[in-house]
Every structure is written in structure tokens, then in C-alpha cells.
């Protein structure tokens, strides 16, 4: 009995217990499929209703030349990295009140992680030539 309890604690520690807090691994291939949801407004290489995504990771929010941002995004003072993208994508309007991105967000954590992995990979691929 004591052994079972002990094993249960160990299992919880190595599976669900730690997974909830650990970083998920992003799958760029799955993320590409999630990115299809963005196609109404975004593209990798050119600005549309939303700004282009090439060069997104490491870029200051509201800084793509030639794109007209909301005041909220211009003054968000964010730099896009995995953490800030995750925070924004889960609920854009809550993250940056006043953003013109009228989208409820990507609520599934794994999907967000995959999407960010795709954006990261695409940014370093031939799909995003050097500016």
C-alpha cells in the first residue's frame, strides 16, 4: 500500500504534476496548420489587415514600417518573444486593450506553442528572405 502511494507521488511528479508547469514543446508543422486561422488578416512577407510576420520574434511590438498600428499597440512597449507572444495570443484584447486585432485568441496552450514554433521557424526559413 505504502509502495503504491509512493509510486503515485513519483508518477505525479514526472507526469501531470510537472507537465502543468513545464514548457511545452512546439511543433512547427502543427503550428503551420494553426497559422491558417490567421490568413484572413496576416501573411508572412507583407502587411495586410494585420502586419507581416517575418521577423516577428525579437521585434518591438508596433514597429513594422508602413503598417498603421493602434495607439495601444504602438505604446505597448512589448518585444515579441515566446513568452509575450503566448500572453498576447491567448487573449489579444485583454493583453493589449485597444488593439485592433478583433480576435478572441488561441485558447489551447499547445496550439499556441505550436503556432509560435511555426512563426519562429518560418522567420528563419527561405519563406522570410532577409529584408
Amino acid at each position: 500500500m505504502r509502495m503504491h502511494v509512493l509510486m503515485g507521488i513519483v508518477l505525479a511528479a514526472v507526469t501531470g504534476g510537472t507537465m502543468a508547469k513545464s514548457e511545452l514543446l512546439g511543433d512547427p508543422k502543427a503550428g503551420k496548420a494553426v497559422y491558417a486561422r490567421c490568413f484572413a488578416c496576416h501573411a508572412l512577407t507583407y502587411n495586410r489587415t494585420g502586419p507581416k510576420h517575418c521577423g516577428l520574434l525579437g521585434r518591438r511590438a508596433g514597429s513594422v514600417p508602413g503598417f498603421e498600428y493602434s495607439a495601444a499597440m504602438k505604446h505597448a512597449n512589448w518585444v515579441w518573444d515566446r513568452k509575450t507572444l503566448d500572453r498576447f495570443l491567448v487573449d489579444p484584447i485583454k493583453a493589449v486593450p485597444g488593439t485592433t486585432m478583433g480576435y478572441a485568441g488561441v485558447k489551447d496552450r499547445q496550439e499556441r506553442t505550436d503556432l509560435i514554433a511555426y512563426l519562429e521557424q518560418a522567420g528563419q526559413s527561405d519563406a522570410c528572405p532577409e529584408p
Partner: protein, 199 residues
């Protein structure tokens, strides 16, 4: 005939009925305007007229996002129609779908104004990957990609509306975009409805 049917459909869309609504419906019927159910709901919903309220402000932002995408879709279909790559009846299809997007954009702009907002305008110039559009299938595939994106965009917009009439009307447009996507896929020889759920 068709306008009467459409006005009739509109009546099942409305959350509120009133003598004003009756006269509006009567006017629409007599004028022969081809307004969809969504259009009437957007233009006539009583609580939509909460001009200047905080919730109206956030709804305007969401509506303007949708309007921007609709205006781009109109331009995209224009590029497709003028490309010389589309043959009838696909060309007719593209022009019909462009007409739907024009209706969406018109209603969205009017609703934004009713809410006290400023509708975004069409850009002087849009960027499209025209260098990748060499055949009719390329154009169809590009259009299908935009339409699928539009479905996702409206799906992401519907829960954001404070006003339930607006959410309902956006869902109506979503249904139209989904039909466009399915028909375009079918024209490409692909399964028109490949999934049970959209995301």
C-alpha cells in the same frame, strides 16, 4: 419575389420586433433592396444603437477588423477576376463571392457608423502574391485560403461582441464565408467539407 423572401428571412433573425421594424421591413420590401438577414439585424437591432457606450467602442474595433478583411477580399477577387486566368463558370463564381463581400463590407461600415465609430477605408493599394498565381487553380487555392481565414476570423470575433445581435450577424457572415470556402474547394476537386469543426 426574392426581396420578399429575404425580408421574411430577416424577420426570423431579429431579437426585437416593433412597429418601427414593421415599417422598416415594409420599406425594404417595397424598395426591392436585397438585404440579407445579417444586414437587417445589424442595421435594425435596437441595442446596437448604444452609440458611444464602452461596449460599442470595443464592438467597433472588432467590426473594423472584419471590415478591413472584407475590403481586402473584395480587392483580391477583383485581381482574380481581372487576371484572365478564370474561365466561366468559375469567373462568375468569383464575381458572385466578391458581391457577397461587398455586401458584408457595406453593412459593417454602416453599423460602425451607427455605433459612433469611423469605418476603415479600403487601402489605395493591396499586396497580393500575384507572382504565384499562374493558373485558375492557383487563384482558386488563394481565394480558398483567404475564405478559410475569414471563417476563422469571424469565429474569433463572434465571442467578443458585447451585443448579441452583432454576434449573431457575424455568425451569419461566417456561414457565408464557409460556403465560399467549400465551393472553392469543390471547384479545385478537393473535398468541399474536409472537417466537422472549424477553428
Amino acid at each position: 419575389m426574392s426581396s420578399r423572401i429575404q425580408v421574411y428571412e430577416a424577420s426570423s433573425f431579429l431579437a426585437h420586433d416593433s412597429p418601427d421594424m414593421e415599417s422598416r421591413r415594409s420599406f425594404l420590401g417595397k424598395s426591392g433592396l436585397m438585404l440579407s438577414g445579417a444586414a437587417v439585424a445589424l442595421l435594425a437591432g435596437r441595442d446596437v444603437l448604444a452609440k458611444g457606450s464602452k461596449s460599442a467602442g470595443s464592438d467597433v474595433n472588432v467590426l473594423n477588423s472584419a471590415l478591413g478583411a472584407e475590403l481586402e477580399a473584395i480587392a483580391a477577387y477583383q485581381v482574380g477576376a481581372e487576371s484572365g486566368l478564370l474561365q466561366k463558370p468559375v469567373l462568375n463564381l468569383a464575381v458572385t463571392f466578391q458581391g457577397h463581400h461587398k455586401e458584408h463590407a457595406d453593412v459593417l461600415a454602416k453599423t460602425i457608423i451607427k455605433l459612433g465609430g469611423q469605418p476603415v477605408s479600403a487601402k489605395a493599394k493591396y499586396t497580393f502574391p500575384v507572382e504565384t498565381l499562374k493558373t485558375q487553380a492557383d487563384v482558386l487555392r488563394f481565394a480558398a485560403m483567404l475564405e478559410k481565414g475569414a471563417v476563422s476570423a469571424y469565429l474569433g470575433a463572434v465571442p467578443l461582441f458585447d451585443n448579441r445581435d452583432l454576434a449573431k450577424a457575424a455568425a451569419s457572415i461566417l456561414g457565408d464565408e464557409a460556403m465560399h470556402w467549400a465551393v472553392l474547394r469543390n471547384a479545385l476537386g478537393e473535398a468541399p467539407v474536409p472537417v466537422a469543426f472549424m477553428s
